[in-house]
């Protein structure tokens, strides 16, 4: 599929030899190609090994090796006590996980899809997010909720919703949305070590995408701080802010625009809450043009929040054009391929929006 190929191309130096026919070029010995899926698994494995209190629970995480094979091998290594298969009872097992966290364990709850987390939302918000505050600091809740979020090819309306804005709304939660393999590994490790409830939004499209992992990122103590964005590509003309799989689209669009002499600065948010507004503002002060790009719905979305904060902050007076949002279409996700493709931002949509904003 065209989209998948474009993702593979744009993953940071992903699969260079195969696509560019530079067979003589080899990667430095310490750098490795790691898929996002394997990076997540590495993070889980390392944290399970490091801290006895960490355990995983969710549907099919143990014997089935994970619905998307993310947890492959972990049950064989750690056994029943630490990798727990649950019945298909989201609100029940989420409540149990939060209770275990209250009593001092560090659970990692897997949702087969964040769409199923809607059944558990009461526990994520009322039992986890709010408790430290309501108890006046007596009862912390150290827990991670993870799983695939947002669009996946062909899964249709009930399985394709993006929950970044929903969870990003709630004080007391941290919400993380990694893009690359390094993001996934470093951020998941930070999330598990964090003493607070963290919602970790993966994406199914990204699971199989390989990325270069630096030597540093292969260390067992490699952490990426929650709350800091990353500039994936520097540029002077326009700032593109994105998260999760859509970052790949932005990188592709940037490559296309570069041919026309337009240099985009692509910011990978990495964390939805707390959001790194400083990085966005610094970039906007340089480029004077802002476009947010996301897969989620437009109304009350991540882009809406960024634009509101730009209006209220120092960045506003630097803008040479109104900041705009590029989002998913405001409809339930359709099934037919052509319809589905036209529901999410494509490269041409980003290119078009940049040119409109720059008035070229």
């Amino acid at each position: 599929m065209a989209y998948l190929r474009s993702i593979l191309r744009s993953g940071k130096n992903a699969v260079p030899a195969v696509l560019r026919r530079e067979f003589h070029r080899t990667l430095p010995a310490a750098v490795q190609q790691v898929t996002v899926r394997d990076a997540i698994k590495e993070a889980l494995d390392e944290e399970l090994e490091r801290d006895e209190r960490v355990f995983l629970l969710g549907e099919e995480v143990a014997l089935f090796e994970g619905a998307y094979k993310v947890t492959r091998g972990l049950w064989k290594k750690y056994g029943d006590k630490r990798i727990i298969d649950t019945p298909i009872t989201e609100i029940g097992f989420t409540g149990i996980a939060v209770g275990a966290a209250m009593a001092g364990l560090r659970p990692v709850v897997e949702y087969m899809s964040f769409n199923f987390s809607m059944q558990s939302v009461d526990h994520i918000i009322n039992s986890a997010a709010k408790t430290y505050y309501m108890s006046g600091g007596l009862q912390p809740v150290s827990i991670v909720f993870r799983g695939p979020n947002g669009a996946a090819p062909g899964v249709a309306a009930q399985h394709a919703q993006c929950f970044a804005a929903w969870y990003g709304h709630v004080p007391g939660l941290k919400v993380v949305s990694p893009w690359s393999a390094e993001d996934a590994k470093g951020l998941l490790k930070s999330a598990i070590r964090d003493d607070n409830p963290v919602v970790f939004l993966e994406n199914e499209i990204m699971y199989s995408v390989p990325f270069e992992m630096s030597e540093e990122s292969q260390s067992k103590d490699f952490l990426i701080p929650i709350g800091k964005a990353k500039i994936e590509r520097k540029g002077n003309h326009v700032t593109l802010v994105s998260h999760s799989h859509v970052v790949s689209r932005c990188m592709d669009a940037a490559a296309v625009l570069a041919k026309d002499g337009i240099e985009c600065e692509v910011i990978n948010l990495r964390t939805i809450r707390p959001m790194d507004m400083e990085a966005i503002e610094t970039s906007v002060m340089k480029t004077k043009h802002l476009i947010t790009v996301e897969g989620g719905w437009p109304q009350f979305g991540v882009g809406g929040e960024i634009l509101a904060r730009i209006m209220e902050g120092p960045g506003f007076s630097y803008l040479n054009a109104p900041a705009v949002r590029v989002t998913g279409v405001d409809i339930p996700m359709p099934y037919a391929k052509h319809l589905e493709e036209n529901t999410l931002p494509q490269i041409k949509d980003i290119v078009f929006s940049v040119k409109k904003t720059l008035n070229v």
Partner: protein, 387 residues
Amino acid sequence: MAGETSFPEPQLAGARLVVSARTYADFTPQASFDIKNCDVHKLEEGPPLQAVLTREEGLQYYRTMQTIRRMELKADQLYKQKIIRGFCHLYDGQEACAVGIEAGIKRSDHLITAYRAHGYTYTRGGTVREIMAELTGRRGGIAKGKGGSMHMYTKHFYGGNGIVGAQVPLGAGVALACKYLGKNELCVCLYGDGAANQGQIFETYNMASLWKLPCIFICENNQYGMGTSVERAAASTDYYKRGDFIPGLRVDGMDVLCVREATKFAAEHCKSGKGPILMELLTYRYHGHSMSDPGVSYRTREEIQEVRSKSDPITLLKDRMLSNNMVSVEELKEIDVEVRKEIEDAAQFATTDPEPPLEELCNHIFYNEPPMKVRGISPWIKLKSVS
């Protein structure tokens, strides 16, 4: 470890002894009482039909129940004076449940309940002062005034939960942690007859049973879920059977000894590795569901009066002790006077202690976190949060 260092050491409720004019040798040191038989479900036998009560235990149970009773009545007063606001769900009538359960478990065991929680906050180590100051929303409150009536916590007591039924999977999770950490502790998960129909409770029964979690599920059946009587809400009102594959027993919740023996029996079952067990306590609340409910549109005053005169838990214990010469009338009166004073002092504190300062508005969002900025009401207001 999270939660280990935050809590102050708990007080042993009602432990002080009363000095009496008559010598200790004049009183019966202990007596054996017949207690009601419990209906059982999927159990070969139930708790014993007799309970031994020592004088010390009797005095302690009496003092604790009386403290809870008086504390709740004072809360009623303060609520009517609008010094307590919002939700206030009172426990008077149900004292034997909280006191009996606590007598049947260890302090190192765990407990979680729903919103009718003031009694449990006390039996689990909170002081009357800090409970009342939390109700009035002051800085000396057990949750620093941030939580209110439904969100009080102590060591090994997980609240105080406002969402009906949510506390049950949470409690099973605490039990999972007990088993995981190999501590030989259990968790008591309380819920009401109204919550008993919640889906998440059945999901919890399933997992607790599958994984043999050491939890005692306890349904405090006070006959009414808010204003809906049990027959109007439940297709089966045999709450002790609704765990299906989980063994259950139905207990007289107005008799503190009955509750204690049943709890001991249940705790033994859990700790021997047999997995969860379910107890239904038949009890009654004198007040309405909450302070905004007079409690008479769905039940008669006669019914309330009948329970008060025939089954009051404090009167039951008092009569038993007096008729067996375990205590004197003066001694109990002295306890009453002391309790009244303690409540008055606490109420005085709760009405005069200042509210938490505005500078602390945004604190306690995250644990173990460097100070961070919080968005205020308008873009120009910059607030700060510390852990």
